[in-house]
Symmetry: C2
Subunit: 397 residues, 2 copies
């Protein structure tokens, strides 16, 4: 099975066309993983980090391991990891098809997309903060040098935005892009589109993360916009060419937007908007989070107000406010640099305002309930948090 995949001269030739002077077998292995695994598949991530993409693929597909490396890994891990790896193998197997990988590579070549891998000079290291959930590879149409600037501001919001939201998104994104910031968003209708367009309008940099392959314009109505972003900025996906966007892939894509941005700003969002998911990822990563307020009578600002209330998002009213938010980052990092990262994530997740149940703290911090509980016990003893009505709240400092 593995020979059919990694030993194919056709596929290796395709990889050579996409990437010069590279370890083509490793690149092909990662391209294959991007076909096999759904975005953010943490089990694939753990295996690849431990074994390398090629060995991980060998084990995943054929059960072959060198020097008992996998057994050694699983022996020291939580028993649930062993079960999850077994489940992963069952999940990946149905997708193994040499043709699918070759099609992805060919599709990329046809639209002029590159295959970018961790360790490449232009690989965006900020995504590695996602740890086991970092992308295995990125498919890029456009110029990946675009994201080497600072600050990088992720601006997201409602697809069904109001005129007010579009106006504010355009004003803030245009101002930031004109002063050299990169505007990162999701290429969707509404706020995303307004932010991308404003950045392009001032000749600034912008990057769109898609939830499907970069060879497909989604939404179709943004065909022209995405083409322009690919030409003047970059359109990026962790999914191979040909892959359709799905609900899960939209949610997983949001973590890349949150991770690439130095800060994330939500411009307009309904009470249950997908933008809150992006905001949650930003908070879990310890990235500063901003929200633009609006009328309390407007349903399309309800999610932003929720972020201000429940997630301690900072109220952002202008590009100057966003720049100040970018400035807070380095100071936060400085304060937090000697702290246990799990503690930082838990404290970031807990609000000083609304009490959160433990399970919600776990969800927001991206840690297990067990880890959260063990930290909370200590944090309570230290007086940093206190229990309120079945939930947890941060103490006034």
């Amino acid at each position: 099975m593995i020979e059919e995949l990694l030993g194919s001269g056709d596929a290796l030739d395709e990889v050579r066309l996409l990437r010069e002077e590279t370890d083509v077998v490793d690149a092909l292995a990662r391209a294959t993983w991007s076909v096999l695994a759904e975005p953010g598949d943490g089990i694939a991530g753990v295996l690849i980090q431990a074994l390398g993409a090629e060995e991980a693929l060998r084990y995943a597909l054929d059960g072959v391991q060198r020097d008992g490396a996998v057994d050694a890994l699983l022996d020291t891990a939580d028993p649930r990891v062993r079960r999850a790896v077994a489940e992963g193998r069952r999940r990946w197997a149905p997708r193994v098809e040499a043709r699918a990988v070759r099609d992805a590579l060919r599709g990329a070549r046809e639209v002029g997309a590159r295959l970018l891998l961790p360790g490449d000079d232009l690989w965006p290291g900020a995504l590695d903060d996602l740890e086991a959930n970092a992308p295995i590879a990125l498919w890029v149409r456009g110029d990946p040098r675009r994201w080497t600037v600072t600050p990088r501001v992720s601006m997201v919001g409602a697809r069904a935005s109001s005129g007010y939201g579009d106006l504010v998104a355009a004003e803030i994104a245009g101002d930031l892009a004109a002063s050299g910031a990169l505007i990162v968003s999701g290429g969707a209708y509404g706020i995303d589109g307004a932010a991308h367009r404003a950045a392009l309008g001032v000749g600034g940099g912008t990057v769109a993360f898609l939830a499907g392959g970069v060879d497909r314009a989604y939404p179709a109505g943004h065909h022209g916009l995405l083409k322009q972003i690919a030409e003047e900025g970059a359109v990026v996906s962790e999914l191979p060419c040909g892959a359709a966007p799905t609900k899960w892939r939209f949610l997983a894509r949001n973590r890349l937007i949150a991770a690439l941005g130095d800060v994330t700003v939500v411009v307009e969002a309904g009470w249950r908007s997908g933008s809150l998911n992006t905001a949650g990822h930003a908070a879990a990563l310890g990235r500063p989070l901003g929200a633009v307020p609006g009328a309390v009578t407007s349903a399309s600002s309800a999610g932003c107000h929720r972020l201000l209330r429940e997630y301690d998002a900072v109220c952002v009213t202008s590009a100057a406010d966003v720049r100040e938010l970018c400035g807070t980052m380095s100071e936060r990092d400085r304060v937090a640099e000697n702290a246990d990262p799990e503690r930082v994530r838990i404290l970031d997740a807990i609000s000083g305002r609304a009490a959160l149940p433990t399970i919600e703290v776990a969800r927001r911090s991206g840690l297990s309930v067990e880890r959260v509980l063990s930290h909370l016990g200590l944090l309570e003893l230290e007086g940093a948090v206190y229990p309120v009505g079945g939930g947890w709240r941060r103490s006034p400092s």
Copy 2:
């Protein structure tokens, strides 16, 4: 001089008409103080707290002291207090006129106002949190039992409010008042008026604090509204009848609104609105502070957004949000109850978001720069605050 004031049979008779079964000399002394001293005169407050109203008056006007009580007080105080007391005596002397006191008492009787004093059953103890700046007496038209309910919500905002602000103020105040909360405000045009009217509209309780005597309707256009508040709620001032509102008295009045409310909510406010002064008092008193957001394109919401950014105000979008804010109060108090009150005030004053210069921390906390600096040094050592570009910011907890 003092005999002319406190020995006047006419004035004592007037006091008897306003207050049954009471120490009429003490009541007259306090009424006299309310004529002599401007609102929030902390030096008058210190003398009255130390000596009682009558003895303080005797010393202030005639330099007479019993058993060297004033010298004992000044010997242990900061040298600046001695100078301030001397200045106070020069400030109060020009206002000493027995007729002015009698006129104030007669004016109160004519409009059916009561004279309420600290220690009275219905004295609002929350105002004593103002310590030396607490009012010396209150002149009340209406029923002082109105403020014995909880929660008491102070709602303030721009005089030049927008239709949006009026609407939101009315919705929130009406909902809260209908469920038994007291709406406290300043009787002004705009947000204040909308909040009072909504409370009256649902048959709820409301109290207006005026910056002049309760015998004058200010603003004149609110003559009918203030009359209705006096009939169904209460109209209150620390200034005697006949006193005109002045710029200083408006600012001083704001501290009473902030102190009586369990929480303070700013509904709409321009960038330099007087409502921010009320909000600053609430924050300095450790009262939870809420701000209603609006469009970032609306100048009349700029002050609210400033409160969200710089004062760590809580984003409030509905009556339910205000009720939740009231709930946070008791928990904050619980956490803070063993803490040094000066530390609590300094930490309340410092934001986790924007750095504040020391002088601004002093202003917000109501402490001297020297006291602030001595606390900040310790707080920095403990890691609770850190210096940023000439200012101070609170550390992430």
